[in-house]
Symmetry: C2
Subunit: 410 residues, 2 copies
């Protein structure tokens, strides 16, 4: 509470006020410097100085006069340079990369995915592939005078978001890869780069733009090869101590069940992950599908859906059982987090018609009170994590508008 | 961000400033009105007016002059009336009630428990018992000129902390009991009364005063008849949507395991709760011990500990197995919440020497990275929830010093 007048403190105040002005403009639309002053309680001189700094960095711009109908003498309005500024969300999958470009309001400008052709996912190759993707996207955006002001990479695994390092990613086989630093070197950019867990980013995207947007207690559960979850608690992304909150794939739901790649038995992922899905629903094709590198997860799941739609009894019965296991694991999450809504993503989106009912029934039977959360299916598609990554980059810019960003184009 | 000048708003500002002054005095010690003004940036006139209101309510008092050595002309100091003000934490167990009285710094003034003699736990009887306990404590405290300024009741079950109602308590057999309103009527007091889940309060006590105090990501796990947990996330008590966060007793850890009273199989509580403990460790005495109403949980657990200490092979082997189930459930919690420390309470305190190692081994085997949390045993004893209840009442007072409290003694 005690105020200090040291320069570090004044820097904090300036950063706070810059963020305040940029947020007001991004969320509330254009206004005059006098309007900004009265909205914030800052002096007009302070507002003018801060707005100049934001203009220098290309974050806001002057935009002519107030509308003719308005009262008082006309004043120059300031607005976020929103048509120009974009953030990139970069997805780093085991066998693909993806890019989502969005403006500061979360509107998607472009969205692409491409397979990673070679089987290697060593850090050097991945950084080269990401650099190519980011350069190509930056080039395309540049043609429309759009400037990239922030990048976040979505990674399946444990991430140190402070240092931007991938601490551990079983899927990629990475340990302690300083991804942010290597990308920054490869791109030779001063644009802020962040690294975050993909399920956390999916949760953020659902909280901002999904069907349950704004729900203060939300859990995003994504099932593909494995299972992950991202947690919004009290309206904030909840990361836990090491950003590992929501790593639910290896929670034990059946200690006498199937062996898991992690060395234990009956992890949730052994009951609802891709291997369980294919082995139980389409046993005659499971080995072929699991080993076919040309098939993405969507195509494998589509195979199961086709069988079920054909009325195949094995597939239908296995899907109902899979729904029950889904419900058991969801109930375990609800017991710990008490959320208002669960959003299902990944393979669960396509499988919903076949498993939703058995999942909800199994979940409700295990919750001791009538306050079961809603179970919804993600409407954001496969790139929720990429979208969340773009949103997080925008959010970081709004929190600290001058971080690392140089006045001239990167 | 836009400022309004309405009276509701001014009330908020006053409440905020009263809280600010009271916190400064409670946490930082006595100071002059001028000192309070310079520490908070408020004008001296505002500080004087707010301090008068706090003095009127008996929350702070004038305390003579600044020390002779200090610079400038001597000023009257103000301090929290800390020797006089206490909060009560009231424990409502199935077969006992308890009271913890603490001052505003969390120092325990007195602590008592008594068995509820009759088997009935109907709301009417319980409210009468609590009224007697609270009146007796208030009377004892009054003899030392101590005044009760807040009460929180700790309940095993689902609580609506806004309305102070017990929504559902399986142990007490209660549904929708407006406990706060009934207690307030019975006590005829205007002292603020709160109602909160006991595991949440245990977590709060551990976070403030336990061996892991100050750890930002902490989970408190209490095992007695059933199993409950309270969650500190990012340094805050995390309640979830309905205050149900951490209700881990009925998470499924073994779907082909024992039937639970809740109607499902293999809830965590069927593997480590009191029934499992006695049935597996002392099978020859389990029925007798479970049905003996005169024995408290401590005495039942002591019986098991005595057997194990005697070298009984059945008890020792069953305890190791119980430890393994404890570890499996703890790993499931860690996967979701990623805490820094787990604090074990209830029967796990006495059993720790026999189960700690197998629990930690089983937990670590299930966590995919080396970042396992510490597993500690509570040092706060059986009344952690009561202590947490007293702390919460003090915290609420500091947040809103004038809430419901009348100027004269209640």
């Amino acid at each position: 509470v005690v105020r200090s007048e040291g320069p570090a403190d004044r820097g904090d105040v300036r950063r706070h006020n810059l963020s305040l002005l940029l947020r007001l403009l991004a969320e509330g639309g254009p206004r005059s410097r006098a309007g900004l002053a009265s909205d914030t309680g800052l002096t007009k001189a302070t507002v003018s100085s801060l707005v100049s700094q934001l203009i220098d960095r290309g974050l806001v711009r002057d935009v002519g006069q107030a509308a003719p109908g308005s009262v008082g003498r006309p004043a120059t309005l300031v607005e976020v340079d929103g048509t120009n500024l974009v953030t990139l969300g970069v997805e780093l999958g085991v066998d693909y990369t993806g890019i989502v470009a969005a403006d500061l309001t979360g509107r998607v400008i472009e969205q692409r995915r491409r397979p990673l052709s070679r089987p290697s996912v060593g850090p050097r190759d991945v950084v080269a592939a990401l650099r190519a993707d980011i350069r190509a996207a930056t080039g395309r955006l540049d043609r429309f005078s759009r400037r990239v002001v922030g990048i976040t990479v979505a990674v399946a695994g444990m991430v140190d978001s402070e240092s931007g390092a991938v601490v551990f990613s079983p899927n990629l086989g990475w340990r302690m890869v300083p991804l942010r630093d290597e990308l920054r070197r490869a791109l030779r950019t001063s644009v802020p780069i962040g690294v975050e867990n993909e399920a956390n980013l999916g949760a953020l995207a659902e909280f901002r733009l999904g069907s349950a947007a704004g729900t203060k207690h939300l859990v995003y559960v994504i099932v593909e090869n494995g299972v992950g979850a991202g947690v919004i608690a009290d309206g904030q992304l909840f990361r836990g101590r090491f950003g590992q909150a929501g790593e639910v794939g290896h929670t034990t739901v059946d200690p006498s069940g199937d062996w898991c790649a992690c060395g234990n038995r009956g992890c949730w992922e052994t009951t609802i992950g891709m291997r369980a899905l294919l082995t139980r629903c389409v046993p005659d094709q499971a080995v072929r599908l699991l080993n076919d590198r040309r098939l993405g997860p969507e195509e494998k799941v589509a195979f199961v859906v086709a069988r079920a739609a054909d009325g195949d009894a094995v597939a239908r019965s296995a899907l109902a059982d899979l729904g029950r296991w889904l419900g058991i694991g969801l109930a375990n999450i609800v017991d710990v987090l008490d959320p208002e809504v669960l959003v299902l993503a990944g393979s669960m989106r396509m499988l919903a018609p076949w498993i939703h009912e058995s999942a909800v029934t199994a979940m409700r039977a295990r919750l001791p009170n009538p306050a079961s959360p809603r179970v919804e299916v993600s409407t954001l598609g496969y790139s929720a994590a990429g979208l969340g990554a773009a949103l997080l980059a925008a959010e970081r810019l709004l929190i600290d508008p001058l971080a690392e960003l140089v006045p001239t184009r990167a």
